[in-house]
Symmetry: C2
Subunit: 130 residues, 2 copies
């Protein structure tokens, strides 16, 4: 029997916490807690518990530093984003990435610059495909 796999999608709260970890790198529980708004939003032990659970689930790693634990996200933000995008494509867009793209651009007014960046990206994709 081996360590648990890391293919589960994070829950909402886990994702919030991951965001802090992605942004700040190694974090103590306290840092995460504060970054998330302190006791106004979540009790300290709530965050602690989550980090412990996420550690067990292999979503974060940790290391001792003095008497406290420093936590760190295992999956990169990019991987996680990719997973979530893949899933939504699969679940809601019948497997069609372009449908998602149109939906993404349709509502949110993207700037000309962004649209051009996308064009450029399309070019690159087709280049590489030849």
């Amino acid at each position: 029997m081996s360590a648990k796999k890391n293919n589960a999608k994070p829950t909402e709260k886990e994702l919030e916490i991951l965001h802090v970890l992605w942004q700040k790198g190694h974090c103590s529980v306290k840092e995460v807690h504060q970054e998330m708004g302190g006791d106004a939003s979540n009790g300290y032990t709530t965050i602690l518990k989550f980090l412990q659970i996420m550690f067990e689930k292999n979503i974060v790693s940790r290391q001792k530093s003095g008497k406290l634990h420093l936590y760190k996200a295992i999956a990169t933000k990019e991987n996680t984003k990719q997973q979530m995008v893949d899933k939504i494509i699969d679940t809601v867009f019948e497997g069609s990435a372009s449908q998602l793209v149109m939906s993404a651009l349709g509502n949110n007014k993207s700037s000309k610059e962004e649209l051009n960046a996308i064009r450029k990206y399309l070019d690159e994709l087709e280049e590489g495909e030849k």
Copy 2:
């Protein structure tokens, strides 16, 4: 007291059910149940219960037809997709739609046709923006 609002995001199971309803229009519980794989996947009463809950949450409407209820999604697939996309942009992509777009295209090999469709769509967007 009024009817409940319809701004909650559907849960996973609810989304599965919505898919059937979007695809088939009006459905009896039985139809939804069968479409979702019959008893192998979910008990009949499980689906029934979900449809009842979704009715209370104002996610679906229903009407009597003979002795059975026919259920129908209230939100369109498009609206729901849009909501989900907006949310993921907000939650994971720092509000940048184009980031999502690139992520969507990066992994999943989209066909040339799809890429072209996206180009066309970009053109339309910029047209309309003038």
